[in-house]
């Protein structure tokens, strides 16, 4: 599977063999994700700009690799919304236009990336949105919305994390940014449908209205009020909480793959 190939290139299996061990249950993987979030992920998030180039450079992915990484995330989102839309009365009529709009964009992103990649495009993985039977997103609408929020907020962080590596290809960088902001619009809308603020409100799932630590990795490292070496609350008089809301944080390809991997068979 293309996804695993990507993983291997970053030695992810060596550092986290549990995530891809068939003998390990998906629930263990969820627990591991929590550990991943509290340990590796947090350690990787810079608190000052000086550490940023290292964190970003460490990924060192090429453009094709990055677009395939993006494609996996878009495949995941697209299939998720399509199944949701075809799942009987799952989506109430009041929200259907919103979900249809998001689904339309995710399908367009899949097509765009596949076209851009041509013969290098990876095949669509086989997804398991129940995460080994732990969740029922297509029969329980609140769960569906939690997944949607987590996917959108993850997508934003994933595209953001790849922007520096796309600087070698300015046209592709711009397209990635144009997708990135669409994911952010989606996230805001889904969050607000859920009664959350449209912006990220903390560095764990509970702080973002998701009552499951399984989703903590989605928000790990988000609570930053020092940006580029600037203590923004100090210079602005704005609260740390509001400052943290006003800057989204990136995730590395490893982190993005770890989150997406939970939903891939």
């Amino acid at each position: 599977m293309n996804f695993l190939k990507i993983i291997e290139q970053f030695d992810f299996d060596k550092t986290h063999p549990e995530l891809h061990d068939n003998a390990t249950s998906r629930k263990d993987a969820l627990n591991l994700l929590g550990k991943f979030a509290s340990g590796v992920a947090l350690a990787a998030v810079p608190t000052i700009l000086m550490t940023l180039p290292k964190a970003v450079a460490a990924q060192g992915a090429g453009v094709t690799e990055i677009l395939n990484y993006a494609l996996v995330l878009e495949y995941l989102e697209s299939e998720f919304y399509n199944i949701g839309l075809s799942s009987g009365n799952l989506i109430p009529s009041k929200d259907r236009t919103v979900i249809q709009t998001i689904a339309k964009h995710e399908a367009a992103h899949v097509n765009y990336l596949k076209t851009a990649l041509g013969s290098a495009a990876g095949a669509k993985p086989t997804f398991d949105f129940t995460v080994g039977g732990a969740f029922s997103p297509f029969t329980d609408y609140p769960t569906f919305l939690i997944f949607a929020q987590a996917f959108e907020d993850t997508g934003i962080r994933a595209y953001k994390g790849q922007a520096p590596a796309l600087m070698v290809d300015p046209a592709t960088l711009q397209v990635a940014l144009q997708i990135h902001s669409v994911e952010a619009r989606h996230a805001s809308e889904i969050r607000r449908i859920r009664g959350q603020k449209g912006w990220v409100t903390g560095d764990n799932a509970a702080a973002n209205g998701i009552p499951s630590t399984a989703f903590d990795a989605v928000y790990a490292g988000e609570n930053q009020s020092i940006q580029g070496g600037v203590n923004v609350p100090n210079v602005s008089g704005i609260s740390s909480a509001a400052v943290a809301e006003s800057f989204d944080e990136f995730i590395t390809m490893d982190q993005g793959n770890a989150i997406a991997g939970l939903f891939i068979k």
């Binding site: 997708i179 990135h180 449209g198 809301e245």
Partner: protein, 237 residues
């Protein structure tokens, strides 16, 4: 027309206002080549006469792009600062609208002051805004202006990303643009709840891509609201 100032009463000298001096700014500006270019642009800025109140020069290179972003954040912050003191906000806005608008005001002030601090002595002067076309007592006028500003900001950052030389600044711009897009969707949803407008076909194309605009286009649109002339002639193309 109101003079844009930070929330603090008086503009302070750079040495007081900025947590970083020039040297520290350079320290985290990345690769040697970039640093060299940056030093050159700083030097040039120093040699330039102090901008007159009627015109600012954004400068060149990454400094120019950061000043461009700073100008847009000044515009947004000034707007929302006025919004949260408006009769619409105080007397007519719903609790949901108030929460969103106060958040947006706080976020944009944070962005503005972040850029001011990051740019240090390289920053442009405070811009003078012209909000005479906005009726701050009217919900539709306020929210439609907010929508225009947020969408404009998103398109500006999307178009400026590949003009930056520093990966650090690119990441920071990315950290901000997604929040602007979150804002845009929320404001659009207030205007037309649960419709497709939060990411409408007026801004998202058939490939699912948001708008991207280059600085000249953005500043042309923004000029309606900014009295100060902005010279962007040295920005990267």
């Amino acid at each position: 027309m109101k003079r844009m100032t930070s929330e603090k009463t008086e503009p302070q000298s750079d040495s007081q206002l900025t947590p970083m001096n020039r040297r520290n700014f350079l320290l985290f500006s990345g690769a040697a080549a970039i640093t060299t270019a940056f030093v050159a642009s700083c030097k040039k800025d120093d040699d330039d006469p102090t901008p007159t109140p009627n015109e600012v020069n954004l400068g060149s290179g990454d400094t120019g792009i950061l000043n461009y972003a700073y100008a847009l954040e000044q515009l947004e912050a000034a707007f929302y600062t006025q919004v949260v003191a408006s009769s619409y906000y105080l007397n007519n806005a719903s609790a949901d609208e108030k929460q969103i608008l106060i958040d947006l005001k706080n976020h944009e002030v944070a962005h503005r002051e972040f850029f001011a601090a990051a740019l240090g002595s390289g920053k442009i002067a405070n811009l003078e805004v012209d909000f005479s076309s906005i009726n701050f007592g009217d919900r539709s006028s306020v929210l439609n202006t907010a929508k225009a500003f947020e969408d404009l900001g998103v398109s500006a950052y999307n178009g400026a990303g590949n003009l930056l030389k520093s990966a650090d600044y690119l990441v920071l711009a990315g950290q901000i643009v997604s929040v602007e897009a979150r804002h845009a969707a929320a404001i659009r949803d207030l205007l037309n709840p649960l419709s497709a407008d939060f990411a409408g076909d007026d801004i998202i194309d058939g490939n699912g891509l948001d708008l991207a605009r280059k600085p000249d286009a953005v500043l042309g649109i923004a000029s309606k609201y900014i009295k100060t002339k902005i010279n962007a002639s040295n920005l990267p193309k």
